[in-house]
């Protein structure tokens, strides 16, 4: 076993689990809907860096090497320390934002990962945005789904992480994080329609949760 695989396990045991249990105390509904094997795509709303950690901590320990958070290369590879941590420990799949415009295929890496049977974690909003407000989904997952219609796409709604560690904050405040896992969103045959479908699936999962901030715009 390589060094980084050991470190990844150490990180899961010494950081991920303790933070998940003590600082946050994640409550999961629909855990049985999480994929039990790859390939699969998990799509979730994005409020905080903690979201990735929350989803990683939800996944079974035995999948530790095949769970790949898809993350923006321009941010996570921006300096060598963060890059090392992101690639070796979080095991991210770097995504070049905006390279579709340059005529490259941004999904090449993701497609290859699915071919290898890995489980992708994707935040289709593309960025964390304002804390606990869900933005519009981008179309990348629908493209992947079109290419791999049999790979299940599982929607997850996350709430609370944006309160625990909002964008721009460096200190974590303990807050219970809710994760609601839904059932697979089936392919609709149309990319734009599929993206909208996925977005509303994630939104619907969050509808039953109490609101987090006092100053939320509707």
């Amino acid at each position: 076993m390589t060094m980084s695989r050991w470190l990844r396990r150490l990180f899961a045991l010494c950081v991920l689990r303790p933070v998940a249990i003590m600082m946050l105390g994640i409550t999961v509904r629909g855990r049985e809907n999480l994929p039990t094997s790859g390939p699969a795509i998990i799509v979730a709303n994005h409020n905080s860096h903690l979201d990735t950690l929350v989803l990683l901590s939800l996944m079974p320990y035995r999948h530790i090497d095949i769970v790949r958070p898809v993350a923006a290369a321009d941010y996570f590879l921006s300096n060598r320390y963060l890059a090392w941590f992101s690639l070796q420990i979080l095991n991210i799949l770097p995504l070049e934002r905006g390279n579709a415009a340059r005529g490259e295929d941004p999904l090449q890496e993701s497609a290859a990962a699915l071919d290898r049977g890995e489980i992708l974690i994707v935040f289709p909003e593309g960025s964390r945005g304002a804390a606990e407000i869900m933005g519009k989904f981008k179309g990348g997952v629908a493209r992947l789904k079109e290419r791999y219609p049999s790979v299940p796409v599982i929607p997850v709604f996350l709430q609370g992480a944006g309160k625990a560690l909002p964008r721009g904050e460096i200190v974590l405040v303990p807050v219970v994080v809710d994760a609601v896992v839904g059932t697979e969103v089936p392919w609709t045959g149309n990319r734009a329609q599929y993206t909208a479908e996925m977005e509303s699936a994630v939104r619907a999962l969050g509808a039953s949760l109490p609101k987090v901030f006092d100053d939320e715009e509707d």
């Binding site: 105390g25 409550t27 509904r29 804390a131 609370g160 309160k163 909002p166 904050e169 200190v171 405040v173 303990p174 807050v175 219970v176 809710d178 039953s208 949760l209 109490p210 609101k211 987090v212 901030f213 006092d214 100053d215 939320e216």
Partner: protein
Amino acid sequence: MIIDIADNVAIALAAIMTLLFVATAIAWPQRKKKHELWLRTRTWWVIILLLAVSIVLPSWVPIALFGLISFLAFKEFVTLIPTRRADHRVLLWAYLSIPLQYYWVSIGWYGMFIIFIPVYIFLALPLRMVLAGETQGFIKAAGTVHWGLMIAVFSLSHAAFLLALPASGNPVAGGDGLLLYLLLLTEINDVGQYCSGKLLGKHKVVPKVSPNKTVEGLVGGVIITTLVAMLAAPYLTPLSWYEAGAIGFVLALAGFAGDVTISAVKRDLKLKDSGSLLPGHGGVLDRVDSLTFTAPLFFHIVYFLYY
């Protein structure tokens, strides 16, 4: 290893566990539906078993245990109340008051323990809020965060301070005995009110807040708790029989008040109306609701009479 607890404390622990077995047996049929009494009894088991283990250890261990309960209860409160984005650092300050409050308890500094959250934190939180600069929703934010600290941290820490009281005040069983006595009465009252309410309940006390609470349940709980208070007092406390009776009576009413207060909070947050409680959200605060009211009252009555 020599186990350093008074005989009376050991006997009381055994008695409490016996009662818990009885409560577990009563609640057993409801375990599948996760009924309130079942969840409550399960929590009591956790508290009592942890306490039984920690009570033989140095006193900072059970005190830290109460600190942990406060942390979990406050975290739950912070999660449930809508807060303002601007108050991120304010919440951090509020959290930091928890280890400090329990530190004052562990060194037995009564003067600081009793004013730290009601005075210093009360003043510090709005100051930090002003520095954050957001005035929209200021009063509500300052009020709710401090209220949460008062309930989840300040009130509960009174139970822990019983362990820091000088042993001379309670020759029969020390601080351990007082703490056990408080937990015993609070638990008896929870179970007593539930059972008498189930058996005899007709007239609702506070239908808008908690439709399951009946006058008959309340009265039954008061009678049972008062009797147990008088019976157990000579073994665990310095209280005379009439003082114990009065304390049992007051604690039964306080336990009821704590219970319905947290119910009202949940109603305000629309957690009861949403059908089933979210898992984890009916957690710690919900389970220690009666203790948040009984602990400070018991502490101050005993402190006034014997310390």
